[in-house]
């Protein structure tokens, strides 16, 4: 088993290139923030001149304040492994800058041509910020975007049962709906073939046929949807003996590309859940089922959505 010492690397496993690209962009924008911030704090006069703003005391105070904001954003971006929040903070800052520049444009005291140029520069940077923020937000939750704008998820769980037993349970795909919440059914249709059915938001049924592509008992199973399926889905699961006789380390990787592969049709929109969280919950239920023979249910948890902790009618 490879050690995942660096969270950046752990999360970038499904698609290395995409992740390093967006993180490079984030780092670039982080250093840009720090540079601009330092300039605004240390030399507000020069910045005001460059942006065509009238050199007033109030302008310099505002610039210094904006400078501290830039510094905070820059440090936030550079110090976080996936700084989506800070990146959206930068976007908010850009909007603040644009508002200030907008009001500066209407004043005769300022050099309109220079202010317009500064505005254009802020708009350009904001476009980069938005793009980077979107990419980072999409990759949250242990899932990441793949090249086909699908979703890829890696999750693990330790189950106190031997690998042979966990493998045998998973290998019978008709068992999967007992712990995968959003699967309605999986029917075995032939040797290594199965038919999967799930319900999307709005009650629409999504189904596909899948084939077994790897089966090494008791260590590995892999499957993928057949060509021409409505949804492109593939997954693999590894069963490793946990140290000290503590059962099995189960490591699951799944990829989903929603119908059409359109950017907007994210899995979250389709099914109403974040796939990383969902797979983690599925694995927790698998563990409950394998270790206790049942999936834990409370008076509240048996309902979709919130319900008070009291018996149902």
């Amino acid at each position: 088993m490879e050690l995942q010492t660096n969270r950046r690397h752990a999360e970038s496993r499904p698609d290395e290139s995409q992740h390093s690209q967006e993180e490079q962009l984030a780092n670039g924008l982080g250093w840009f923030s720090i540079g601009l911030g330092l300039a605004e704090v240390a030399a507000p006069r020069a910045v005001a001149r460059l942006a065509g703003l009238e050199n007033k005391g109030r302008t310099r105070t505002t610039l210094r304040f904006y400078g501290f904001r830039e510094l905070a954003a820059g440090i936030g971006i550079l110090s976080q492994p996936r700084p989506a929040g800070w990146m959206w903070g930068r976007v908010a800052g850009d909007l603040m800058d644009l508002a200030s520049l907008g009001s500066a444009l209407s004043s005769d005291d300022n050099n309109r041509a220079k202010v317009a140029a500064a505005t254009a520069a802020v708009v350009a940077v904001m476009a980069l910020d938005v793009r980077c923020g979107q990419q980072l937000s999409n990759g949250r939750d242990g899932g990441g975007m793949t090249k086909n704008s699908g979703t890829s998820v890696t999750k693990t769980v330790v189950i106190g049962r031997p690998p042979e037993e966990v493998h045998r349970f998973w290998r019978d795909f008709s068992n999967l709906p007992s712990f995968m919440k959003y699967l309605d059914s999986v029917q075995i249709t032939g040797e290594g073939r199965s038919h999967w059915k799930t319900r999307a938001l709005g009650g629409k049924t999504v189904e596909w046929d899948a084939e077994l592509v790897e089966d090494e008992a008791p260590t590995r199973i892999a499957w993928r949807s057949l060509d021409g399926s409505e949804i492109h889905h593939s997954g693999s699961v590894r069963f490793e003996r946990a140290p000290g006789g503590r059962g099995t380390l189960v490591r699951v990787e799944m990829q989903y590309v929603p119908p059409g592969g359109a950017v907007g049709a994210s899995l979250a929109k389709l099914f109403g859940f974040a796939p990383g969280q969902q797979v983690a919950e599925d694995l927790r239920r698998l563990k409950q089922f394998m270790e206790t023979g049942e999936v834990a249910k409370s008076d509240a948890s048996i309902h979709r959505g919130m319900h008070a902790a009291r018996p149902a009618e």
Partner: protein, 390 residues
Amino acid sequence: MRANCWIGKHDMRVQNVPDPKILNDRDAIVRITSTAICGSDLHLYNGFIPTMESGDIVGHEFMGEVIETGRGVQNLQKGDRVVVPFPIACGSCFSCQHGLFSVCENSNPNAWMAEKMWGHSPAGLFGYSHLLGGYAGGHAEYARVPFADVGPIKVPEELTDEQVLFLSDIFPTGYMGAEMCDIQPGDTIAVWGCGPVGLLAMKSAFLLGAERVIAIDRFPERLAMAREKTGAETINYEELSVHDALKETTGGRGPDACIDAVGMEAHAPGAIGAYDRAKQAMMLETGRPVALRQAIMACRNGGTVSVIGVYGGFIDKFPMGSVMNRSLKIRTGQCHVQRYMRPLLDRIQRGEIDPSFIITHRMRLEDAPEGFAMFLKKQDDCIKIVLKPH
């Protein structure tokens, strides 16, 4: 059935709710004969526990008669009289196998909520927020008990409800608090809080061989009970400096172990108390750890601080320097009740202890909301209320 429900802060109501049903093979349904209001229920009542929903049935100290069992429950039968432990535990996961039942890996269906708050999830609990499972509690006529083959303990007919009811939580909790002190002959144990758990921790400390027990509180009736029923010496923190008094009575060394049986809503006179109250009100800390800070500072070098009072989130001004530089040990946890029920039932049967001495009030389930208000304000010298649902 009738059940005592949390509606909002300082608002409990007894309502009609559906009867519980078996949901899993290892469930049982219990007709509740006695149930109690716990000091930790006041944290719910005061609105300090997140993820409560209006209408949640509360209560986690209860006992009764088994009226139905799922197919997976072989050790219980209809008619068995049982006490139910407040943590729900599967009995087979890594934690349960190591006796750590209150951190069962499988019993919290809302584990993801707890993970967001605490990094990892403990066990599900009866009637104690959605973050801890969203299980209906025992302030009701009936309750569904999951993993009924692991938790509930059968109790003999010759013992009354009041003698065994507290096996569900506070007696094991107090006992574990004392056990975590690794008491040696000659030890002095200081206990912050003379509520039911503190009083039972004092009793337990003596059972485990403590030479002296020192009780700290501010309510005269509670201090009196500590003196008279457990044999502890007492300090009223509104009259004396706790730190100085403890130092003086131990020859300057400090108690060998300190038990925090207060938790996140500690009271303190003066500026420190006002500081923590203000920060808690502004959500800048979720606990007022006054007792814990005192316990750490008072404990002798190399001693043990045992924390059984409940904390929910984050505390402030934690004297880590005192802990580190003076080689203190901190031990804590929600009680692993399943581990203690059998040996403590034996102690009750042998007459070594009768935990019912803490009961001051008996009420109908219907009067639970008045009971909460009375318990909160410590009116009528209220220390422990037992509710009768039938």
